[in-house]
Structures are given as C-alpha cells and as structure tokens.
C-alpha cells in the first residue's frame, strides 16, 4: 500500500513500479467501496487519502480545484461557505472522492449545467504510467503550474488531443490523477421543490427531456418508490412506511432563483413547468403523498452527501448496481425491461433511479438491488442476466465494472485495438490497474 502525499511522490512510486513491473491500483475514496474499486491481490494499492487538500475555491470564476483524496463530505460544505454548489451525484456517500466520481462520469443532479458527459470535470493533473506528469486543458501551461496565471478551467487539449477523455472512464488504467478542477455553480438563493407523480416511468422521462430542452429545472431526478423511500428516510421503519404510501414513480424537480430577481425567475420557470407537465397530463405539486412534511428534508438531501453511518444504499447489507446510459427515446423501454428482469426479486429490493443528463439528451439509469450477504448469489445472477439482456437491447454500459468489460468489448475488436494503442502510449509497461477494462 502506497500513500503518496505529493505529485512527485506519486511519480516516484510509478517509476519504481515501472522498474519492478508491479501493478498499481488507485484508491481515492474511503470505504465502503462499490463498483469502481476492487482488490487485485497481485497489485499494490496507491491510496490517495493523504492527497486530500482543497487547493482552491474561486467564487468569482466558479470553480474549485481538489486533490484526488478530497471527498464530497469535505467539499460540499466548503463550497457552500463560498456561495457555491457542485453539480454532484445524487446522495453520494460522504467519503466518495470527488475526483473519482467525476472521472467515472457519474450521474449529476443538475443536468442543465452538464454540457458534456465529462462535465463538471474541467482539468486534471495526471501521472502517466511512465511516471511523467501531465496537466490537461488550460492547466497544461505555459510553464510550471506554480507560475501559470490561468485558472486552469478550459477542459480541452492541449493540442488536438482530448487528453482528459482518455482519463475519464479509465478507472486509472491510463494514469493516476492527482488533482482535478471542477466547475461549480452559484448556490441558489431561493428554490421551489416540485414533485410529479406517475404510475409509469416513461411519461416522466419524456417530461424530463422536454423540461430540459427548455432548460427549465435545476435539479431533476426520477425515482421509483423503493429508491425514493430508501434515499429519503432515516431508518428502515420510515423507509417501509414511505414505500407503501408514495406513488410508483416520482420526479423531483427543483426550480431555483439566483442572486438577482430570484422570485421572478422561479415564478416564470414554474409556469413553464406547469405548462409542460400539463401537456403530458401531469401535475406538479409542492407536497408528496406518503412523504408529507418531509419536503424540507428532501430539499436538504439534494444538496448534500449521505453522512449517515450506514450509506443509504447499504441498509440491507449489500447493493448490486446495474448502471447504464440510454438516449431519451429508450429510457422508458429499458426501464420497463429492467423491471421485468428483476421481477424474480422481491419488489422492495429493487430501487430504480432515472437521471436525465447532458441537458436532457441522455439518461443514466441506475438499478440498486438491495440485499443481504446471504442473498448475494441470487442477486448477482439476476443482475448479470439482466445486464446481458439490457446490453442486447441496446443499453449502453459506458462504465463497465466487474464482469461487464468482457461483454461490452467483445463486439468491437477495432475499438479494443485502438484502446490498447492508447494504453500503450500512456502506460507502456501495463502497470496501471492491470486486469481492468480490456487491458
């Protein structure tokens, strides 16, 4: 186990590994570790817990720079102090590394701020498999980082290669990231929280896409009753009660006003929401049956990570996630398929979250199969079969974890060959997170 404290230190570790041929696995988040990190007994672990400084928060230019070990639990309150917010995933665990989340292209809560799948990640410093240090985008230079006057926020390049894109989704196989710059947004001064209930997910996904086409909502997320009650309850008892009372599907939609004329904005945009929802025969409400009185709690949960002792997804001991992407036209169909495929499991164990992304042009669908240690095999088998069926139906597993790489890469030998060429440039000895993806 290595604990680098500086970029130079990390570079040294990697250079040594180059000489010895030892594999290195990056670990940037605290426990519990879900999809991304897995133990490779033949490799050494590089733990980033000592690289945990918030390097900069810039209110004026709306960005923050954090080391790889900085977690949401640390960053979110720090940003709030500056009047800023991060476009973060829905209720991440407090110990989750901000950098890892962005590098893994995790779903974000405010799709209107996401122009691209790599957003809100802007730039990164990386140590490649050769031990060379590199900075992406406008962080590249000119000159050393200490002298560079740029804010290091331009995500593209340098040159005609999008270096950042090779790092995203790579699970550390292309290089270990030491710090990242992320886009942050003005913290709304006022917001109005709306709930829209439906019996089927498709109408809500269509509504979400339409709302985002017009850039109406800030936060926007669709959950089934199981995921909703798990996320917005404080214990199992409350969760069980809520699950039975709420509608099958709930869209949470928050409309915000910023520093200027906030109420006017909320009024106008709430009007748009009302009109667009009505065109789908839906109605928005400021309360939700089954969760009455919890509106403020829900509102605050949207802005934070989960700081409870037991992560909300792990109340039953374990969670097996099925994560895929799809375009708006496929969201309803694939969600239905997901429901069909998990029918063999108890209904209350299958949480589904549909998150519009990239300004409503795509949806990240997440199925959380909550289960206990003793149910592991059954749930794993169901998940694997489900993933195969979904893949065949066109679900896009852009973040292939566990056994998925063999499924997704088998269809495209030319792509795999190309990825291997890229890998051969940035990690010629193949020491970075060996055995992951197609390397």
């Amino acid at each position: 186990m290595w604990y680098p404290e500086t970029t130079e230190h990390l570079s040294e570790i990697i250079r040594k590994a180059c000489e010895t041929g030892a594999g290195l696995v990056p670990l940037s988040s605290g426990p519990p570790h879900l999809h991304g990190a897995s133990v490779n007994p033949e490799a050494e672990t590089v733990c980033f817990e000592k690289m945990n400084r918030i390097l900069k928060i810039d209110r004026k230019n709306r960005y923050a720079r954090v080391e790889a070990g900085v977690s949401f639990g640390t960053l979110l309150p720090a940003l709030a102090e500056h009047g800023l917010r991060a476009n973060h995933p829905f209720l991440p665990r407090a110990g989750k590394s901000v950098a890892a989340s962005m590098l893994e292209r995790e779903a974000v809560l405010v799709p209107k701020y996401q122009y691209d799948y790599t957003d809100p990640l802007l730039t990164a410093e990386v140590v490649y498999g050769t031990g060379d240090v590199f900075r992406t985008g406008s962080a590249a230079g000119p000159g050393p980082v200490e002298e560079l006057k740029a804010d290091m926020v331009c995500p593209w390049g340098p040159g005609s290669i999008d270096f950042l894109r090779f790092l995203c989704g790579a699970q550390g196989t292309m290089g270990f990231v030491t710090w990242t710059t992320l886009k942050t947004e003005i913290r709304p001064s006022e917001s109005e929280l709306y709930f829209i209930e439906a019996e089927e997910p498709e109408v809500l996904s269509k509504l979400a896409a339409k709302l985002l086409f017009k850039r109406v909502p800030d936060d926007c997320i669709i959950l089934n009753a199981i995921a909703f009650s798990a996320a917005f309850s404080e214990d199992t008892r409350q969760e069980n009660l809520m699950r039975e009372k709420t509608a099958r599907w709930i869209m949470i939609c928050r409309i915000s006003g910023y520093e200027r004329r906030p109420q006017e904005r909320i009024r106008i945009y709430s009007g748009y929401l009302k009109d667009i929802a009505a065109s789908y025969s839906l109605r928005q409400g400021t309360t939700l049956s089954g969760a009455e009185g919890l509106e403020t709690f829900i509102d605050s949960r949207l802005d934070d990570c989960d700081r409870s002792d037991v992560y909300w997804k792990l109340r039953r001991g374990r969670v097996r996630e099925i994560l895929f992407l799809c375009p708006p036209s496929r969201a309803g169909l694939l969600t239905k398929m997901l429901e069909e495929r998990t029918k063999v499991l108890p209904r209350e164990n299958v949480g589904i979250i549909i998150q519009p992304q990239v300004q409503g042009r795509a949806f990240r669908i997440e199925c959380d199969l909550f289960h206990s240690e003793s149910e592991k095999e059954m749930f794993e088998n169901c998940a694997l079969e489900g993933e195969k069926a979904l893949f065949a139906a066109g679900a896009y597993f852009d973040r292939p974890y566990g056994k998925l790489p063999s499924l997704v890469y088998q269809t495209d030998p030319v792509g795999v060959q190309a990825l291997k060429k890229v890998k051969s440039v940035f990690d010629p000895k193949g020491i970075l997170n060996p055995g992951k993806l197609c390397f």
Binding site: S138, W156, F163, A362
Partner: protein
C-alpha cells in the same frame, strides 16, 4: 516522386473515372495560396472524391500500400486542408453529403462531412432545433467545424464550444480500419461520445481538431439545442442588403459600449451568474465596421465613427420563450449594465444587429473581413476563465501600439473578441488583425507581430496561445505545455506509424 500509374489506377477502380483526377487544371483548384497565410501549398498528385465510408477505407488502404500521403478536405476553407508536401492525394469528401438522421427525440443529427451549414441549419430549424454554428460561410462543412477546427462560436455564452456537442463518430483510421467511438462502439446508437471506458473521441479533437492526422471522419452525430425563434427565417431585400425579422418580443439585441475591460469582465461574469442571454461577447470593432458595410470604401467611411464610438462593444442577444421571460432578462441586464458602467450605443448602429440577428446570418457576413485587401489573421485563440482571458486581452496594449502606430498592421488596437461560454464559466479570445498584403514587409511584420503576441503571453504565463495539431508551432511550444507534443506524436505514431495521414510537417 509522384504517384505511380498503378496506384492511380487502383484508386480509380474504387471511385470510378469520374471521381478522381490528376489533370493539372483540376489540381490547380486545390493548391492555390490563400491570402491570409503566407505559404504556398504543394500540388496534390491527385484529387479523389469518395462516396462512402467503405470507399474512404479502400483509398486509405491503397495509400498505405503505396506509401502515399493523404490529406482530407471538404470545403477547402481551412488552411490545413491542402497538400503540405509532395506524394499526396487529396481526399475530398464533398460527395459524402447526406444528413443521415435527424433524431428529434434524442436531439442529435448524424451527418456526413459534405453537409454544409447552409444545408443543415434550415433543416434543423424546421424542426425547432439549432446547433452551435461556426463563423464560416454557408459552404463550410459542419462536421469539419466540429471535428477539425476550433469549434468556437458566437452563441457559446448560452451554449458551449462545438467540443461539447460532438457525439458518436465513425472514422477511418490512418491504417484503414473503421473505428466507431462512444455508444456507437457497442451498437447502442449515436448519442454518447464516451466509453465504454475511456473515450476514444479523445483522438479526434482536443482544443483544436487534428485535421485528419488521426484519421478521416466519415460520419458524426452532433447534439442539438432548441431554436428560440421561427421555424423559417423571413428575409427581405436582395443581396447584399437582406434583413431578417424575428419576434421582437422574444428576441432583442442590445449593444453597450464600455470603457475598460475590467468592466466588461464584470458584466460578463454577472450576466453569466444570472444565466441570462443567449449571446454575450465583447466583439471586434473593426470587424463590426466591415460587416456593417458593403464595400471596403464604405468601411473606410464608417470606420472613424466606429473607432470613436465603439471601441469596446459588448453585444448581448436576449432570446426567450416568452415576453415575460424577456422582461425578466432585460431587467437583470439593465441592472448589470448600470452597475458596470456600460452605455447603450446609438440606435442606428444597434439596429444593424436586430436586422441581422440570426447568428448564422451574422456570421455568414464575417467573410467581409477579407474585403480589406485580404491581409488578415486571427491569433491567440486560447481559452480559460473569463477573468484570465480578460487579462490576456488587457496585455494586448503592451505590444500592439508598436505595430499599429508604425503602420505595420491596421490601426485597430481593440480588434479582439472575447466570447464567454457556458454562462461565463470560460471564454475564448481572438485577436484579429489586418495587414497590408501589398506592403513588401508585410510577411516579416506579421511574423514579428505573432511572435510578440506569443511572447507576451508566455512572459506573463498566460494561457492564450493557439495549440493545434502537430506542426512546427507545436514543436516549439510543446516543452512549455507539459510536452504535449511528445504525447501527441506518440499517439500519432501508434495509429499512423508511416506518418501518411496529413503528415507532420517537421520530423
């Protein structure tokens, strides 16, 4: 050594006699020097017009077999779309001009390289969409703008650079494989550019495009944005005096003059924070004067007034869904302008914008810039935060007067634009200068001016330089930018070991 007859015949067999030529007069149409760049192009050995991806693949394989370099072009408007050495075949993709799909629900369009802005823009508009349109003429290739050039555009305040909107891509690699990126890789459609795992789209475009150095893009999907305005644009009058009319309750252009770049910065950041406006930019004042006039002579008459009255124009286009939203945005804009010391310009000058404000219309007359003798060059072109880019803009005054006051370049020291993107999260800068091509010293002056601008940025450690595909500039600047040239070269070597695809100029 020129292309062998055997190679030519093989290529001819792919596309047919009609779609390939090595006649000197045909080659003459693709080797002429353009006025803004000082170097002569080489003549290609042949020009070939493939009609589909498979033909491109076959051509590339033949080039590999015979060790022939290939450069890809569509409109010919880019200085990198020419043969830069001998033994080169020019692959002109203009026959591949299909709009393959407009997916209204998933908000993307799949296009081939030959589709031009003037073709795609109205087709999308009919369906209520628009896309970020580069500042090129109607014949510019949309795909080339997204993949091969900068991708900056004048609507990027409320949107972003083209980089953000390039989705699934199909390309022929320099060795002749058909590579598909993102969701296309696993048969999941065109909607996502990244994954599975790392995004191979990183090969195609960084800050700038690779101009075919990493392969030939044969189809690509671009993401679409909503079009606020009528499905068809009504125009009146004949060229060159067409006017357009949009719903003035939901579309307004306001132009303000500022006294300092610090104030401009404040205005840009505050407008961005409020998330209002479709377009915000500190525009070129000389360019504006050229765009507003019908001839160079008319420009010379108008220019003294523009120079006097509009040294630092901030152009803001408000485009909203409803009059109520317009009142909201206009109210905020007025507050910000008052706080930051902007002054609304004379109505006759502002009206020009309203009469032309569809941005595609506006940028289509940007070519007028070349009216001033054709000596024209954009430099800097980098991007970072609004604050940083404003500092870059401020530093221009450190060196430009040495050139304007001595007549080495046209006397327009404020002729640069700063265009924020993503509601002020970052901005790009372009310093556009004119020079007198008839001046025998112009080549020397231009080179010196570029160098001075570059060294001013380097001296201050400003990130503003043009970092493009592999060329001599990359080699020069690479060591100052984390040796990015070495990584780019390594990737190029991995994918194009024979250095045939738009080859690197200097080994």
């Amino acid at each position: 050594m020129s292309m062998t007859l055997e190679a030519y015949k093989e290529l001819e067999a792919v596309v047919g006699e009609r779609n390939i030529s090595n006649k000197p007069w045909v080659l003459a149409g693709n080797r002429a020097r353009t006025p803004e760049y000082p170097f002569e192009y080489h003549s290609p050995d042949a020009i070939i017009l493939p009609g589909c991806t498979e033909e491109v693949q076959e051509i590339v394989r033949i080039c590999n077999r015979h060790r022939i370099c290939f450069v890809v072009t569509v409109s010919g408007a880019s200085v990198d779309a020419y043969a830069n050495r001998g033994d080169t075949v020019l692959i002109d993709l203009r026959r591949m001009n299909r709009i393959v799909e407009i997916n209204e629900e998933d908000r993307y369009a799949v296009i081939e390289p030959g589709v031009r802005h003037v073709q795609l823009y109205p087709e999308l508009r009919k369906k209520g969409f628009t896309y970020v349109t580069a500042a090129v003429g109607p014949g510019g290739s949309v795909l080339a703008n997204y993949t091969s050039t900068s991708g900056d555009n004048h609507n990027q305040h409320g949107a972003s650079r083209a980089n953000r909107y390039l989705l699934g891509v199909e390309m022929v690699t320099p060795e002749g494989e058909i590579l598909r990126t993102g969701s296309l890789q696993t048969g999941s459609g065109w909607f996502c550019p990244d994954g599975p795992g790392p995004g191979l789209r990183g090969l195609i475009k960084g800050f700038f495009g690779s101009h075919g150095q990493m392969g030939i893009i044969t189809r690509a999907a671009i993401a679409l944005n909503p079009c606020k305005g009528p499905r068809e644009i009504r125009t009146e009058g004949h060229s060159p005096h067409q006017h357009i009319y949009l719903d003035s309750e939901c579309s307004k252009v306001r132009v303000f003059n500022y006294k300092s770049l610090d104030d401009v910065r404040e205005a840009m950041l505050r407008i961005g924070e409020a998330e209002i406006g479709s377009t915000v930019m500190k525009f070129f004042y000389l360019t504006l004067a050229v765009m507003m006039t019908d001839s160079a002579n008319e420009f010379h008459k108008l220019w003294p007034r523009i120079r006097r009255e509009l040294p630092m124009p901030l152009v803001v286009h408000l485009a909203t869904e409803s009059p109520e939203e317009m009142a909201y945005e206009e109210g905020i804009l007025n507050d910000i302008v008052e706080e930051t010391g902007g002054v609304r310009i004379a109505p006759d000058l502002e009206n020009w914008w309203n009469e032309h404000m569809d941005f595609f219309m506006v940028v289509s007359v940007l070519q007028r810039t070349l009216r001033l003798g054709g000596g024209w060059m954009p430099i800097k072109l980098g991007a970072d935060s609004v604050s940083h880019i404003v500092e870059v803009g401020k530093s221009i005054s450190e060196f430009i007067y040495d050139y304007t006051d001595t007549g080495k370049i046209f006397d327009a020291p404020e002729n640069f634009q700063i265009v924020p993107m993503e509601y002020g999260h970052f901005a790009h800068i372009e310093l556009l200068f004119m020079y007198d091509r008839t001046d025998p010293n112009s080549g020397k002056n231009v080179a010196e001016f570029r160098k001075t601008s570059r060294y001013t940025d380097l001296k201050h450690h400003y990130h503003a330089e043009t970092l493009g595909c592999l060329n001599e500039t990359t080699e020069l600047l690479g060591p100052l930018y984390c040796n990015y040239h070495l990584w780019m070269r390594a990737l190029k070597n991995a994918f194009d070991p024979e250095n045939l695809a738009n080859p690197i100029l200097k080994e």
